[in-house]
């Protein structure tokens, strides 16, 4: 990995962080409780942008998307999240039609356990994002995440992604320089909202957002998920079509 690329990434990341800082500074009180099992009620294979419209792809992004679409169709590219059940990556994992469990433990961490592909996300609370030099040797499917509460909202920044995942099930692309910012909060006693901002200037000409809403379902127990087996009934999730 050459140093110029590292500096370019760092510069881009700093600009993104400045954006985050502008919305921080709210009062800190007792840690809000967002824990519990949540389950979406709808699923979209194609990511839905806040405000509607199409993905703001750059020319490079458009070429990568077209390559993914063609490759997924002719089999030269494998959707490994569905074939081998490796992690979906961000933001695709947020579209999961399966329940997931938010655990606010151990102290200093929010742990998100997904039934789908038994993937685990770790949000290190009130810690700085590791440096680019620390992140680059350990790219993760779901990235490395740090978070803090701003009032009732859990703000999660993620970076250090690998390039093996898609933005959504249609094969929308991202680079390993993607950074994401999630604002996760209860919008009612039984509903959780996650608004994610995607920052990936090589493939997207501007930052863009998607919004996901989940229902609190503490009556549901997460099941074991093994690739290729029949899994739980998803008929309560609109938009799921099983082949």
């Amino acid at each position: 990995m050459n140093n110029l690329r590292i500096y370019a990434r760092a510069g881009s990341a700093v600009a993104f962080l400045l954006g985050i800082t502008a919305v921080s500074g709210l009062a800190y009180g007792q840690t809000p409780d967002i824990s519990g099992v949540y389950w979406a009620t709808e699923y979209h294979p194609k990511i839905q942008l806040v405000g509607g419209g199409d993905l703001p792809l750059t020319a490079a992004g458009k070429a990568a998307y077209e390559k993914n679409i063609a490759g997924l169709k002719d089999g030269s590219i494998t959707d490994t999240a569905r074939k081998f059940c490796v992690p979906d990556g961000l933001p695709r994992v947020l579209a999961t039609p399966y329940p997931f469990d938010i655990i606010q433990a151990p102290p200093g961490q929010v742990t998100i356990v997904h039934e789908l592909n038994h993937q685990v996300r770790v949000v290190a609370m009130d810690k700085p994002m590791p440096s680019e030099k620390e992140l680059i040797p350990f790219p993760f499917y779901n990235g490395h995440s740090v978070g803090h509460f701003e009032g009732d909202t859990l703000v999660v920044e993620s970076a250090g992604f690998n390039e093996k995942t898609f933005i959504d099930a249609t094969g929308a692309p991202h680079t390993d320089e993607m950074r994401t910012l999630e604002r996760i909060r209860k919008i009612s006693p039984t509903q959780l909202e996650d608004v994610i901002t995607i920052h990936d200037p090589e493939y997207y000409s501007r930052d863009w957002q998607a919004r996901f809403v989940y229902t609190l379902r503490n009556d549901v127990r997460l099941e074991d998920y093994v690739c290729g087996e029949p899994h739980r009934d998803l008929s309560t999730v609109a938009g799921v079509h099983r082949p």
């Binding site: 039609p97 151990p106 356990v113 770790v122 997460l222 074991d224 093994v226 290729g228």
Partner: protein
């Protein structure tokens, strides 16, 4: 891409081994938080197999787990000697005839040169009670809430959910990790009672079979000032074993940082054509 990936794996492996030797000082945290054993006092604490062998160990007395055939000693990795594959001791009186016969065939395959199945290597859930010996490398992480204990080994990752202070369902549908209910006892012990385990798993790494009548009670006791989890268990299965039996293991506390991502099923194919059991794969997408 490939050299970088390989380098990352090597770095990760080396740092794992380095970390494995760095036991946590006893004074760092108390053994328990309030009236319950605290298996996760901080984000970096996890628990590694105290023995360098992923076997269930015999109890102090009475009927015990399957061990290796003395004629074919099992030598695990990292012992400084040529490792071997497991050949089970079929003289153990716990086995019902059909289970012994199934294991005799499996032993014969190993002695004929076949690489035997081990859940951790082929990315399959190991089930219960095997979970406590799932991995020699990756350590176990606890996530404790008042209603639930989640235990995760990042090697699969494999996830167990234990529901506290509730009864079992009347007739749970068999699943890979079964239905686990639990309770704390004596301020230092988590007791886990598990039923409803699919017969697709083995009890251990000796390929000991069981039926869906399997019933496992595990006791995870925090001892030695919070440095060790002493595991004892009773295993009963009137469909596979002639009698209930017991086993032990120990986990030692290690400080390896928060749980990290290392999906088992990444590029895990049969590179050397050993006719391995395929890893879990979906012929068509789930949704």
């Amino acid at each position: 891409m490939i050299p970088v990936s390989i380098r990352a794996v090597l770095i990760a492996s080396l740092s794992t081994f380095a970390a494995a030797e760095r036991a946590t000082p006893a004074a760092e945290a108390p053994a328990s938080r309030g009236a319950i054993p605290d298996f996760a006092p901080d984000t970096g604490t996890s628990w590694a197999l105290d023995q360098t062998v992923d076997d269930l160990l015999p109890p102090p007395s009475g009927a015990g787990p399957i061990t290796f055939d003395p004629a074919h000693p099992y030598i695990a990795n990292f012992r400084g000697a040529q490792p071997t594959y497991r050949v089970a001791d079929l003289s153990n009186p716990i086995l019902q005839p059909w289970a012994r016969e199934q294991m005799r065939k499996s032993n014969a395959e190993v002695l004929a040169g076949k690489v035997p199945f081990r859940a951790r290597e082929r990315c399959w859930p190991i089930g219960v009670p095997g979970f406590v010996i799932y991995s020699l490398i990756e350590s176990f992480y606890f996530y404790q809430t008042p209603e639930k204990v989640t235990i995760i080994n990042p090697g699969g990752p494999e996830v167990r959910h234990i529901y506290l202070n509730v009864p079992h369902s009347a007739d749970p549908r068999p699943s890979w990790y079964g239905e686990s209910v639990g309770r704390y006892e004596g301020g230092d012990t988590l007791v886990i009672d598990t039923i409803g385990i699919t017969d697709k798993t083995f009890v251990d790494n000796y390929r000991t079979p069981h039926t869906t009548k399997l019933h496992v009670v595990e006791r995870l006791k925090l001892v030695e000032g919070g440095k060790t989890v002493l595991i004892s268990m009773t295993v009963d299965d009137p469909g596979a074993f002639t009698m209930p039996w017991s086993a032990t293991q120990r986990w030692r506390r290690v400080a390896r940082g928060p749980i990290a991502e290392s999906p088992c099923n990444e590029n895990n194919t049969d590179h050397f054509k050993h006719e391995l059991i395929p890893t879990p794969t979906a012929d068509k997408p789930d949704f």
